[in-house]
Structures are given as C-alpha cells and as structure tokens.
Amino acid sequence: MMRGLLSHPSARFGLAVLLLLALATGAASWIERELGVDAQSIDILAQLAPPSWSHPLGTDDVGRDLLVRLLRGGQISLVVGLATALVAALLGTLIGLTAGYLGGPADALLMRLTDGVIALPLLPVLIVLGAVDPTKLGLPADAFRSEWAGLGRIVVIIGLVGWTTSARLVRAAALSVKVQDFVRAAEALGAGPLHIMARHILPNVVQPMIVATTLSIGNIILLESALSFLGLGVQPPLPSWGNMLSNALDQLYNAPALALWPGASIFLTVLAFNLLGDGLQDTLDPRGGR
C-alpha cells in the first residue's frame, strides 16, 4: 500500500508537505528557545517589525513573533484536526453499526437523524454550539477556561456534526455483510452481535473509512479555522491560524502582510490532506481508477 501511495504524485506531494509541517511544528519549542521569545511574549518596541534575524517572519501589531505563533498555531490546528476526525469517525461507526445491524425502526430513526444533520447549515449551527453556556449543561462556568478544555470543546462541537459520512459508510457495509452466508453461519454457531460487528463487519469498512477520515481532516481544519476566525474557536492569547487572520482583518489597511502566512499555511495543510486522501482512494480502490 505504501509503495502504491508513493508512486502517486499528488499523494507524494501531500505526504511531503505534512511531513515538513510535522517537523516544523515539532521544532517550535526549539525555535522559541533559539529566538528567546514565545508565542505570547509581547514586544511593544517591535510592532509590525519587518523580517530580521531575531524575527524571521517579522512581528504582528503588538510585537509578537510571527514565525513562532505560526508554528504554535499549526500544532493546535493539527491536533484539533486529527482528534476531531477520530471522534467523528468513532461516533459515526457506533451510529452506523447500530443502524445497519439492528435494522427496522432503529435504522429508520437513525438514518432520518443523519439526513437531518446533513441538512443542517453547518457553520451557523457550529456558531450556536460554540456559544453554548456551560452552566446550562450543568458544568462549572469556567469549564472551558483552561487551554486544553477549550480545545476539547472545539473537538466535541465539530465532532457532533461531522459523523454523518462514516455513519453512512459503516451502515452500508453492515447491511451488505450481515446477510451473507458466513455471517449466518457464525450466528448459527452462537456468535453474539458484538463479535459479528467486530470480526466481520468492521474489517470490511476499514479501507473506505481510512479514505473518508483522511479527506475529512482537511475539512475539519477549514471549519476550525473559520470558527477561530469568527472568534468562537481557539481563544486568544492561544494562537491559531484562524484567530491570527481575524487579527489581520483588523490591521488590513496598515499591515496587509499579516494575512499572508496564516492563510497560506491553512491552504497548504488542507491541500496536503486532500491530495493524500485522493491518493489513498486511488491506491486502496482499484475499481475507482482514474
């Protein structure tokens, strides 16, 4: 599989970009030490400084180092994107398995729910989800105040609307597998539903799920950055590519260059995930062929 992927030009490009990104964001704390600044350190005397040895990409309107903020923001985008994709895939698998295996009214209800969630205007609903008051859920008022809980909140709200594709994939697989003879035989031999789901149904959806999940990461990163841009995602002072851009919107007339790097980073990362997913699809599914 790996060889097939490496012979696919766009997948190769995607992998290379992601590898580079992982290396660069991984080196963020080393670069912080070398430059002697971190993502939050403000330098009033160096506002909107041009690129130099001490600030390789220059600084923003309060003198924070752009390169360091870009790398820290990248860490956050990648972690949130991967975690959300996993949460959504797990949720979708659970719902798809239940619907496909049980069938009948449970299936009908879950599939109407899936149709409904697909019909939801995604970003508007995410805005409402982002504005939810934790105390009304019985949580303490500062539940999302800490950095990690704040990121967890984004993972949960995007995961809550992102499970539909995997639910449909898993359900379709469950429907087609559960009527086959070997499953009937396993049932006759006394295999329980959990055994059948784990041993017979899930292995049949691993490949399409890998493709769907890879392709979803790019979309999730786009959604997260849009939410952060609107002020409902990653909260300042924690940097993210989205909230760096909303800062750039305020400085549009005196520092248009601020908008360049964060946007280009989102674009390249999302493109890399999409190309990788496309390559995976071609490699894993020879019938799809190009």
Binding site: D115, P121, P124, L245, I266
Partner: protein
C-alpha cells in the same frame, strides 16, 4: 413518481420537525435568557419583577414545554420579536434573505459556468497534462479558506488597486444597479472559487463514468460526430449526479456565506445568524436557523425530483 415525491415530502417535514426540536434545545443552551437581558438593561427592576416576568413569558418552565408553545405560535404564523432590530422577526428576515440569495445564485452560476466546461475538458483529456492541471486547480480551489480568499481579494482589489468596494451591499444613500453589482463582485468571487473546485471534480468523474458506457460507442457507431455525442448525450447523463450534488449542497453554501458575509460586512442571512447568536437575539437566531435548514431540506427534495425527471428509470418506479 408522484407517490415517491409525496413520501419524500412527508419525510422532509418529519426531519424538519426533529431538527426544530434539536435547534430549539441548542438555542436554549445559549447564555442568559430574554428576561435577564431585560433586567440587566433596566436597573430599577426588583428580583420579584424579574420572577413575575419569567412566569409571564414562561421562562420558569422547562425548554421542552417552551418548545411546544413556540411551535404552536410558529404554526399560527407568529415568529416573535427580534431583540436587535426591535421589529418582528417576520419583518427582519426578508431583506437579508434576498441579499444572500443574490450572493448565492450569482456565485453558483459563475462557479458552474467555469466548472462544467472544465470538468468535461478534463474528462476528455483524461490522464494528460491538461487534466492534471485542471485537477490540481480544483483541489487548490476546495482547499482555500473562503475568509482568507476574501481577505486577499480585499487587499488586492479594494486596498491595493482601489477598483472595487470592500464591504456592504451598496454605497450609503443608494447607487443603482451598477453600484450593487460592484459591491457583489468580491464576495461572489470568494464564494465561487470553492464551488468551482467542487463541481469541476463532480462533472469530471461523472463524465468519465458516462464515456465508459456502451451506448456511447453505439452512438458513435451510428454515425454521430464526437462533438454531438459529448454535448448532446454524454453531458446530459453526466449532469444527473451534478444536479443532485448541487441541490444537496445548499447547506454547505450556507456555511460559505457566514464567513463571506462577515469578511465583507455584507448584510445577508449568514451575518444575521452570526449577529443574532452573538447579540443573544434568541427569536431571530431560531427563525433564521430554521429557515436555513428548511431551505436545505427543500433543496434535497428538489434534487430528488430532478433526479426522477432526468433519469427515466427512476420516474417509472
């Protein structure tokens, strides 16, 4: 066919009902309630006044009961009052909706005008350099964050070159049709790019699927020219999945307009929903979200009917 449409219509109404329940639940989880906002605005109110108002408007009851009251009111045509516009919700919605529909239809038309020919050409030149180039362009287009594209467009065309206005629907005081079009240009551009990538890829893969069919060879064999086969026969069946995706995508389009309208300060539905949620305008947020969901569902239903009309095999069912 009629039966099929009726069943789908009933299903859509059911889904809309389920979704209205969930959306109402979500909105009731937003911070504060209208009475506490009223109390915060008038310091003379005593806690007893607040409690009496709560009871009067029913905010002392659980949200499921309030949902029942809301649903009854909506079904009798009463959407309530908007806190931000100090008007009824029904009077607040039409203008932003018209603005958004203009934005959506123009950008969609532009996206399709570029995407369908590009997709057809890519499919015909499959595997060649032109195909790879168009494919890469499509991937790049769907990977661009809409709000960044908007920012760059403002920087280049409004700040740098000064050709086009950066925000709003028209110059203050009104400026006629040309003025409105000039205001529409940049938001439309930002929205159309992602649409282009999307529909170009769908057209390409649908076209490749169709060109593989035996009846294409038959059409060639009976003496039709290649252009005729492609334009008259293949394109028509390749458009079936594209039209379906188009109607199914209305929800995605609503996501696009939220960021686009925020970047360009364009007073449409997306900005209205954002402002309503941020400004704790519960009735307005609720009605706008329901409207967006309803439109998306209507789009899905339309896709289903179009599918039946375009594909005779389904119509006979």
């Amino acid at each position: 066919m009629l039966r099929h449409i009726l069943v789908r219509l009933l299903q859509s109404v059911l889904i809309l009902l389920i979704m209205s329940f969930l959306i109402f639940g979500l909105i009731s989880l937003m911070p504060g309630d209208p009475v506490s906002l009223m109390a915060a605005a008038s310091p003379g109110m005593t806690p007893e006044d607040v409690a009496r108002l709560r009871a009067l408007y029913g905010f002392d009851q659980s949200w499921t009961i309030r949902y029942g009251h809301w649903l009854a009111a909506v079904l009798s045509g009463d959407l309530g009052y908007s806190r931000l516009s100090a008007q009824s919700v029904a009077a607040t919605l039409p203008r932003p909706l018209a603005n958004s529909l203009a934005l959506m239809t123009v950008s969609l038309a532009l996206a399709l005008l570029a995407a369908v020919p590009a997709g057809v050409i890519a499919a015909l030149r499959r595997g060649r350099a032109l195909d790879h180039l168009l494919n890469l362009a499509a991937f790049a287009a769907v990977s661009l964050p809409v709000f960044w594209l908007g920012l760059v467009a403002i920087i280049v065309f409004a700040v740098g070159l000064g050709w086009l206005p950066a925000s709003g629907v028209e110059t203050v005081g009104g400026g006629g049709a040309v003025d409105r079009l000039r205001h529409l240009a940049l938001p439309v551009l930002a929205l159309a790019v992602a649409g282009f990538g999307h529909y170009m890829r769908y057209t390409r893969s649908a076209m490749i699927g169709v060109l593989r069919q035996d009846w294409i060879r038959t059409a060639r064999a009976k003496g039709l020219s290649w252009t005729q086969v492609v334009l008259r026969h293949a394109l028509r069946s390749a458009m079936i999945p594209v039209v379906t995706i188009l109607a199914l995508d209305l929800g995605t389009l609503f996501s696009g307009i939220v960021v686009t309208e925020t970047v360009f300060a364009y007073p449409g539905m997306g900005k209205l929903i954002y402002d309503a949620v941020m400004g704790a305008d519960f009735n307005l947020a609720l009605a706008a979200l329901m409207l967006a969901t309803g439109l998306t569902l209507a789009g899905n239903l339309l896709a289903d009917c179009a599918y039946g009309l375009l594909d005779p095999r389904i119509g006979e069912r």
